[in-house]
């Protein structure tokens, strides 16, 4: 980025998100930009997505002690927010919020990594290069959602005793101690689908590939797809909810439920949530 470019297009850089092709203002995602829509009204907080993620991405089960130390490795976590304390537990309502890497367009983690181990891919993912990572943990320090998980222990040596390594997913690496990892939108599935589509001279069709969490969700609360394709389900949902990927302040009316978490920090996340509607009179 030259200074002239910056000064001439100051309003652009000030108001729009910096994105992958930021050096070329006309460049947008031409083929793929993976995105998600998550309906909190449908989510039951059943944790099936978390379990599926553990199975798909070779996440280690850390055990009770390390879980309490906060060294747990769930790439997608179900957060629980209690209602205000009018009543005690059985009657007290709770809201669930599945939280995973938001695959931000202007990801705060990417700029601060000293070795460039985390960077943006051509299809709008925030990738993590395990081999390059030196474990400075700056990305996690700067992540507003705190969805990056660090391998504090050498989990491959403890998490899967004798017969268990046979159940590991061969498409995903097993991570050693001292590196950072996070949700990848199941990039191994995406890449496989993309290369299959490429051999047939087409783009990946909508619904052809989904991450493990989407596949496992019993209530179909999570929708995943390519937002560049205007006919995809996720693009339609984003449009219906009047959420624009490239705006940090949405101009929408009160009839829609769509929002993105911590939008005012301007990371331009790729996951849209839809608010839960609570009937307080019932």
């Amino acid at each position: 980025m030259s200074i002239t470019n910056l000064l001439n297009n100051w309003s652009f850089y000030r108001n729009k998100r910096p994105y992958r092709g930021q050096y070329d203002l006309n460049k947008e995602y031409s083929e793929y930009k993976w995105a998600m829509a998550l309906d909190l009204d449908i989510c039951t907080g059943c944790n099936a997505c978390t379990t599926a993620c553990y199975a798909e991405n070779n996440l280690p089960v850390v055990g009770k002690k390390r879980f309490h130390h906060g060294q747990v490795m769930h790439w997608i976590r179900i957060e629980r927010y209690w209602d205000e304390k009018m009543v005690d537990f059985p009657e007290q309502g709770a809201s669930f919020l599945p939280m995973m890497c938001q695959q931000c367009e202007a990801a705060p983690c990417e700029t601060v990594c000293p070795v460039g181990a985390t960077s943006h891919t051509n299809d709008g993912l925030n990738s993590q290069n395990y081999h390059r990572c030196i474990g400075s943990r700056y990305c996690s320090a700067n992540c507003p959602y705190k969805v990056r998980y660090f391998n504090f222990w050498n989990y491959p040596s403890t998490a899967w005793p004798a017969p268990l390594p046979d159940q590991l997913n061969p498409d995903v690496t097993v991570r050693t101690k001292g590196i950072m990892e996070k949700c990848t939108f199941c990039v191994q599935r995406l890449n496989e689908a993309k290369s299959r589509a490429r051999t047939e001279y087409r783009l990946v069709r909508d619904g052809e590939v989904v991450p493990a969490c989407v596949q496992a969700c019993p209530t179909s609360a999570i929708t995943f797809g390519n937002i560049v394709d205007p006919n995809s389900k996720v693009a339609k949902m984003w449009k219906n909810q009047q959420v624009d990927l490239y705006k940090d302040l949405q101009e929408k009316d009160n009839t829609v439920r769509g929002y993105r978490i911590l939008e005012d920090l301007r990371p331009f996340p790729s996951v849209m949530y839809m608010e839960r509607i609570r009937d307080t009179e019932a």
Partner: protein, 482 residues
């Protein structure tokens, strides 16, 4: 009660004429050599006590690090929102400590404050060793320390570069530059003294100092080149010192986290750095003065001047601290405000209040002359100030993780494990060990500059250019180089 003229004269003399001097003006040059060279031979017993204790502490740190290296960062009891802990806090502390050496040797050198001359050498050594310690903390902190060189921009067959957007890369560059420059500065300033050591040493020490003194003969041409080189490196070092801690501050200031995302961080960090460095200089001043019997050179007026400097910098730091609080309080960033309230009332509140007390209230004791001239009191105060400054760094790093923007971070308790404390303690051992070794091997008081100081002061006192008239000893016993 003054009854006679004589008594009045004595009283007046006590008040005005016998004002304590930075250094005795009639001290002979040969005596200076003798006193300083004695520090290379037989220090007091306390030297060995400190040295052995430091070595033991260092060993504790090394064993903790070996354990952590083998097992993983989990033994430090860090967890997923709290990915940084004491390591980064202590890293900032050591980087900060390194700044006062440059302040004393370079900034005061340019400002012609000659009272710095007996104490700048060990302050510079402090700079070098605390930078080394800080560098170790970066290594200790890394998850995969064996690949730390990925941060350095080195040519490789994969054409991969570090991410130049990242403040950590700026950090690595700045610290390496500062470390090399300060080592060169320390060494250059020591060459004439090494020549004196060479002239007085025997045996293997003689060849050691001969090698290091680079054939220094004390000729006019050598002195002229020496002056220019020294001044050039000093001028180079001043902006470097300011930039290093500013860059460490940008590690925090450019991030989005509440409590870190503050514009005033770079000057705040630099002020804090000078503050803790000055306090450390007072501590080491008192220790060296006793251990090596430097009472003649590290005099009370110099200690008092250092204390005044510390007091001034403490007030600058307090001001910038208040600027930080008030700009956060009256600012628009609700996350930052929440983090500030958390620091004052949450789990870290005792340490936060202690930090404010030690950093901003305790230095007011330095306003009293009686305390400034009381060595035990100064020792305690200077250590307290450094404890406060260490707490400050910890309070910058840790509470932000415990009270981040995202609610998920709010209910995570975290307390550093014994491994973390062990490595922090080990760093103090490592620093003290190196520092004590340095003072034993190299002259920790600059002989040639003390001679200059004595010479200039005697000229000023007598108003004459010929120093031999004042002190005939100078003419016979001491040359400039010997």
């Amino acid at each position: 009660m003054i009854n006679t003229f004589e008594e009045r004269d004595v009283a007046v003399e006590k008040r005005f004429i016998h004002k304590e001097k930075d250094i005795r003006e009639d001290i002979a040059w040969a005596q200076i050599n003798k006193d300083v060279l004695k520090s290379l031979e037989r220090p007091r017993m306390l030297f060995w006590v400190i040295f052995i204790a430091s070595l033991a502490l260092f060993m504790v740190g090394v064993s903790c690090e070996i354990y952590q290296y083998q097992t993983g960062m989990g033994v430090a009891n860090l967890d997923n929102p709290h990915v940084w802990g004491l390591y980064i806090g202590t890293f900032i502390f050591w980087i900060g400590m390194s700044h006062s050496g440059t302040l004393l040797s370079a900034i005061l050198h340019i400002m012609h404050a000659d009272w710095r001359k007996p104490i700048y050498r060990f302050a510079e050594a402090m700079t070098t060793f605390s930078l080394m310690t800080a560098g170790l903390f970066v290594m200790v902190h890394l998850g995969r320390v064996w690949q730390f060189y990925y941060v350095v921009a080195y040519p490789n067959e994969r054409w991969t570069w570090p991410n130049f957007q990242s403040p950590l890369v700026w950090d690595a560059t700045a610290i390496f530059t500062y470390l090399t420059s300060s080592m060169i500065f320390l060494y250059i300033g020591m060459i004439p003294d090494l020549a004196i050591c060479r002239d007085n040493a025997t045996g293997f020490r003689k060849s050691f100092y001969t090698f290091l003194s680079l054939g220094w003969m004390g000729t006019d041409r050598q002195w002229a080149n020496f002056r220019v080189t020294y001044l050039t490196v000093a001028c180079f070092l001043i902006p470097l010192a300011v930039s290093v801690h500013s860059i460490v501050a940008t590690d925090f200031a450019v991030s989005q986290q509440p409590g870190w995302h503050i514009t005033s961080f770079p000057p705040y960090f630099v002020a804090g750095a000078l503050y803790s460095g000055c306090a450390a200089i007072i501590t080491l001043f008192i220790v060296l003065r006793y251990v090596f019997r430097f009472e003649e050179y590290m005099t009370m007026p110099i200690l008092e001047k250092t204390a005044k400097l510390t007091f001034a910098i403490a007030m600058v730091w307090t001001y910038l601290n208040l600027v930080e609080y008030s700009s956060t309080w009256y600012g628009d960033d609700m996350y930052a405000k929440q983090a500030l309230i958390y620091r004052a009332t949450g789990d870290f509140a005792p340490y936060w209040w202690m930090m404010n007390f030690l950093g901003s209230v305790v230095p007011f004791t330095l306003a009293f002359k009686r305390i400034r001239n009381n060595i035990p009191a100064m020792l305690v105060i200077s250590i307290l100030l450094n404890v406060g400054m260490w707490l400050e760094r910890w309070m910058i790093v840790s509470p932000t993780f415990a009270n981040g923007i995202y609610p998920w971070t709010w209910d995570h308790d975290q307390w550093p494990s014994l491994v973390q404390w062990g490595i922090v303690a080990g760093s103090f051992g490592w620093f003290n060990m190196l520092f004590m070794l340095f003072c034993k091997i190299f002259p920790s008081v600059s002989m040639y500059e003390v001679k200059e100081m004595v010479y200039h002061r005697s000229l000023v006192r007598k108003g004459t250019e010929d120093a031999t008239q004042i002190n005939p000893e100078l003419a016979v016993e001491g040359g400039i180089a010997s």
